[in-house]
Subunit: 457 residues, 2 copies
């Protein structure tokens, strides 16, 4: 019987996790002796609607990829066997067999707020290497940045209340679930339901019980007691399986209140139910029992609940956060901005229609006002002496990591501290506002020059 | 220096790719001697807005999971070390060490159109097994079904024109890119840019060139010629880097037309550009050169282009398809519907607020009219003699696969043939319509009985 395919990504098949044209272009550069160093930058042309900032994330997995990327024997055979490669010399396939990423990487530290046109990552390497890595880098940085940015909005809406990632079942496949758990934590969530994320990354894991638990017993009381017997110090009860208020009354009669951690509401009118349940619990002397809410929550619903003083202590957020449902894709792009030719560095750009971007190897300089609030960024040329804080820092030189990876908790702290430095208008959940990203005079000059040069041809 | 984490899913960590509460419930069932057989069904309560049907997908990866799921030594250690498990006996951890999925699985064949309330997959196994697999099954089936359904819409919009999946860079991480490529193929796309999907699944891979290729040369002409030298029989030129019309004129002057396959438009007003470019090519005797369009396309834009007779031969569709951008999550749920207690099978349901579903082990019976068009489905009790075609079929018995996996191409054929049997009103891209899914009288009776029984407690 045929074995089902896992479709897992692993270190041995990384070389094929790319778009086909990266490989044809690689062969093309190779055959045309075009493997001089080039610089590509990964950035977002404009922010998604309803977003005033992004939170950079995904760099660690991008670095893992660059360190381990290679073409296995099977990968090379597969490529070689494709009819498109008919006229490509065997030197190219020998090159692929020895391929390793040998370039330099500059990046924004994960957890840094980032705006349109600002590079999240900048790669300088022989042209073929810069080209081949495009697809994987985009898939990795685009997704985690998308989710960390969405999670930050949810966390802002929840004020001081804890947000838990409950989204694994609606993520875009099993690996997306784990990546999303990481990105949600970077965005400020305190825990996740995803156990692998807990084990791999040390994110606190948590959970309550499912409706199936309650349904598996003849009565709700039996279900609650049975759970409490096994987890006497860690019981959180799901109380909406049949009738939330009836179940809340049952909770107080159970006499397990001392050690009861929480009750969870997952359906119905969460605002009024949370108030009623809080009253029932308080009157029974169960002030310490927390109320958790879940069920298709997002930043807007949470904001509404908080504005109406819903007595909710924890929010379990799933689908909307791990798919960034209102904006489910980040349009990050990866563009050639500079190229070495005969020892000279030539700025490159594209200017068809609306799709213009700035040429040359860039740096982002961030300026804070006297209270430490972000005032403006200047997109300048690399190593331009601009003042302000240069945000892109070297993380890999000649294919080797050159900077210790931060702990995930430190990345989260960076996000939370940075958010406190954002102008208030950027933290509004609705009516996104823009943050000034000016271009340095030198950068503008290079652009004008490049444009004239290209159009003049 | 600390190694970056890959966050890859592999056979050894499958046990942890679940929500934490599945494991606490597992311990709870274990300690309460509640491991009798149970049946869970995975279904969508209602279709996403703007969808009249779904295309079932993801079963093969779900079966891979069920075959390989186990708890490695490290996984068990991690779970055991979590403070919540403080009072759980070591028998449970020994049970986990030997855990294998031993149940029965009934499923809709991939590529089958499916509607709200109809189970895509039905699992019968000891309670703990049914519970633990929930998260992974949902993440797998939800995602691929979501994308296959979106792709089917795109393919319908494109009429007889080829649709290529170009979405890897915007998918939710590297594995989502490969899973999406599979699902897009199931939905009717003819090829993908994702090379791993090509190698693993035999999906035809294709690509043209990126803007970076064109930008890497001093002139467009040089870029085009250099590519053609390496791929003389497989050149497809991207012509929008600087000026689409100018580039189209250049194409005719290149004198490589004989073997030129296609030109690609990726920006600007695709409708008018495609007409102008077609005219330029035709006048130059290049009628055989195809026009490919890409750039944030979706089913609505493609439909609009086709209605306006855009002379486009291939559509490259990315972001919108692989994230199902207008509806980026499928709300599939997985519910306990029946449970064995003391040798008796007891139907189970939940009825809080809006979240009702039908109890008991079910089957979907599909009825076609005399022209072979889908007329209605009846959701009935398993093995009820209803007439119609029963859609759920056994794919795994006692944890072993019992049915040969279809080729991916056969799955795609099933989709395309099924779509031709859908009533026309369901194939409209706008104003989603509903398809009748009636419940059999027997099922209604069981529901009434179960509701009375539960409410009476």
């Amino acid at each position: 019987m045929k074995e089902p395919k896992s479709l897992f990504i692993n270190e041995n098949n990384l070389g094929l996790v790319t778009d086909f044209y990266q490989l044809t272009m690689a062969a093309g550069y190779f055959q045309n002796n075009m493997n001089q160093p080039a610089t590509f930058e990964l950035f977002v042309r404009k922010l998604p609607e309803n977003r005033s900032f992004l939170v950079a994330a995904g760099l660690e997995q991008a670095l893992h990829y660059l360190m381990h990327l290679h073409f296995s024997k099977e990968a090379v055979e597969y490529i070689k066997g494709h009819p498109v490669f008919k006229y490509v010399t065997k030197d190219f396939f020998n090159y692929l067999k020895k391929f390793r990423f040998s370039g330099d990487v500059y990046a924004l530290p994960e957890g840094t707020p980032v705006f349109a046109e600002e590079p999240l990552i900048r790669i300088t390497a022989p042209m073929i290497e810069t080209q081949v890595v495009e697809t994987y880098l985009l898939a990795t940085i685009n997704f985690q940045t998308l989710i960390a940015s969405k999670a930050a909005r949810v966390v802002l809406a929840a004020r001081e209340r804890e947000v838990v990632d409950f989204g694994s079942r609606r993520a875009h496949g099993p690996q997306a679930a784990v990546l999303a758990a990481r990105a949600c934590f970077i965005g400020g969530c305190l825990s996740t339901s995803n156990v692998l994320a807990g084990q791999q990354l040390g994110i606190p894991v948590m959970g309550t019980m499912a409706h199936s638990w309650v349904m598996a017993f003849d009565t709700e009381e039996e279900a609650f007691r049975a759970f409490h017997r096994v987890f006497p110090e860690n019981t959180a009860l799901l109380i909406d399986t049949y009738d939330t208020i009836r179940a809340a009354c049952l909770v107080k009669e159970l006499n397990i209140g001392d050690k009861l951690l929480a009750v969870r509401l997952d359906s119905g009118d969460i605002l009024s139910l949370s108030k009623e349940v809080r009253k029932i619990l308080d009157e029974a002397g169960l002030r310490h029992v927390k109320i958790m809410a879940s069920g298709d929550l997002n930043e807007d619903k949470i904001d509404e609940l908080m504005r109406n003083n819903a007595p909710i202590d924890l929010f379990g957020v799933g689908t909307e956060m791990v798919t960034s449902k209102d904006q489910p894709a980040l349009g990050g792009i990866y563009k050639l901005v500079e190229q070495e030719r005969c020892g000279e560095r030539i700025p490159r750009m594209k200017f068809s229609e609306e799709k213009v971007f700035y040429p040359s190897c860039k740096q982002v300089y961030r300026f804070l006002n006297h209270s430490g609030v972000y005032q403006e960024d200047i997109l300048g040329v690399d190593k331009e002496d601009m003042g302000g804080q240069p945000l892109l820092e070297p993380v890999m030189i000649n294919g080797k990591m050159c900077k210790e990876l931060p702990d995930l908790k430190d990345i989260q702290n960076r996000t939370l501290e940075s958010l406190s430095c954002l102008p208030e208008r950027l933290k509004r959940l609705k009516t996104a506002d823009s943050y000034p990203v000016r271009k340095s005079p030198k950068l503008e000059e290079i652009r004008r020059y490049t444009e004239v040069m290209l159009k003049g041809r």
